[in-house]
Each structure stands twice: as C-alpha cells, then as structure tokens.
C-alpha cells in the first residue's frame, strides 16, 4: 500500500473514531489524528517490511503512545484517552493489514 493511501486511511479512521470522544475540541483532535498518523503510518510500513518485530507488540505500543498523546495534548482523562486510542488504532491496524496483506 502506498504512503498516501496509508496516511489518508489512518487520518480518516482516527479522525472519525476520536470524534465522539473529543467532539468539543474536534480541531485539536483532528490535528492530533494528522500528526500521530504522520508519525505512525510510515514507521509501521518500515517496521513491517524491514524488521522481524512482532506486530502485536507494535500494536500495543501505538495504543499506549496514542493514549499518552491524547491524555497530555487533548484532555487529561486517561480512560477516555485509552479507549479512544484502543478503538482508533485497532481499526487502523486492521486497515494496515488489509492494505498490505
């Protein structure tokens, strides 16, 4: 899957799935969706094709990373951040595997 397709997919998925949790600050949520996707999507592609790293660990790591980002940069509510990160990244990684499988 190309970089543009991966990025657009990640951004849309994160944007839509974070929206119900952070609808009051949707602009900041959209910015975070954009930046975390820009960081994670190319990195995942590189790790997938160039390393033998276990992708279950990567999946857990990106959820933790996203939850931390949402907690510190959007709203200091850890449960909301964890659940939003879990949901968005689960769908994102399924999209990633469908695209690269």
């Amino acid at each position: 899957m190309s970089l543009i397709s991966t990025l657009i997919g990640f951004i849309i998925i994160k944007l839509l799935l974070q929206l119900p949790f952070y609808y009051k600050s949707w602009r900041q949520s959209a910015l975070l969706a954009l930046l975390t996707s820009l960081f994670v999507a190319p990195l995942l592609t590189l790790l997938y094709h160039e390393t033998e790293v276990d992708f279950f660990s990567v999946y857990v790591a990106i959820i933790v990373f996203d939850a931390i980002a949402l907690y510190f940069l959007l709203q200091p509510n850890i449960w909301k951040a964890a659940f939003a990160a879990f949901l968005a990244n689960t769908i994102s990684i399924v999209f990633f595997f469908i695209g690269n499988g």
């Binding site: 899957m1 190309s2 970089l3 543009i4 397709s5 990025l7 910015l31 975070l32 930046l35 975390t36 996707s37 820009l38 960081f39 994670v40 999507a41 190319p42 990195l43 592609t45 590189l46 997938y48 094709h49 160039e50 033998e52 276990d54 992708f55 279950f56 999946y59 980002a69 510190f72 940069l73 200091p76 595997f97 690269n100 499988g101």
Partner: protein
Amino acid sequence: MANLAALADAGFSIRRRTAAAEITFKGLNNVPNHKLLLVQYSYQSGDTLLKSPFISYRDTLTDGRSFVIQNGGRRWDESDRYLHFVLAKNDSTGTVTDSFTIYMKKWNYKMVVTGEKNGKLQYTLKKSKAYFNYNLIGDDNNEGNNKTIRFIFIACSLLGFVFLLLLFLKRKKSTITS
C-alpha cells in the same frame, strides 16, 4: 491474553514481504572447463544438497545471467533465501569440485568470476543493500529510487514525531493553586 496474542500473530504474519534481492554473474567465461550450477534455492541454511527433499533448481549459469530472488513470502522466515552453488567439471561425468552457499536476504550481489584453481572457483562477491520498493502515491507505481522513497518514509515519520514533541513541549501546563 495468550489467545489474543496467538490470534494476532496468525493474522499479523501474513505476506510480510521484504526487499527483493538480485544476483548477477560475470566472468563465467573465465572457467571454460567447468560449469557453475545453482543447485538449490532454500529457505533454511540447514538444508543440505544431498538430503534436502525439495531441490527446486538445478540450473547451469551463463555469463551475464541475473535473477531476482526473495521477492516476498507469506512469512518472514519464508523470505530467507540461501543459494547453494556447485562448480562441476564440464565433462561427461560432471564431477563436482567446489560448492558454496550465499545468503541473499537484504542484499544485492554481483559475482565476478576470475578463474579456477585446483577445482576451486576464484571469484569476488560485491554486495549492496537491497531496498524494498515502497510506493508513495500509486500502489502499482514502482518507479523511482527505492533508497530515496525509503528516506521520504523516514522523513515523514520524523516530521510527525517532531511536531508531536513540539506540541507536547508547548502544551498549557495547569498549575495547582492552594
């Protein structure tokens, strides 16, 4: 949790392609009394020429021949490729005088054969890193320098990380007042 990990592993290991590697042979005309054969193309190094039940190649190589190998596999371990070569006399019996193995993963090779001495092949092996053919825009667009495109992937990721870091450093810190 273990079941979840097993499920995830089953799904996450599918078709994890790696960089294709290319090998080129030059100077085979320098061994006129011998022929170089690619006799096996295996996943694991433990497979030997004699006992392996799945010899998939037995191909006499010609000068200037090149082929691409390791172009993906369903799993990472299937992308490991060991090429087993033998040097055989160019007579009716075809006695094997030398054998060697090359590990192809992640590397492009250029084998330059300079001659033969006491039945052993004299050659130099130049290797260069093989890059995965990442795509920027179209899924079927494999044009462009793979090294540059890989750099763009790394740059994008770093850019995202740096912006997140800047946001983190410039975030509004709540102060506790008593």
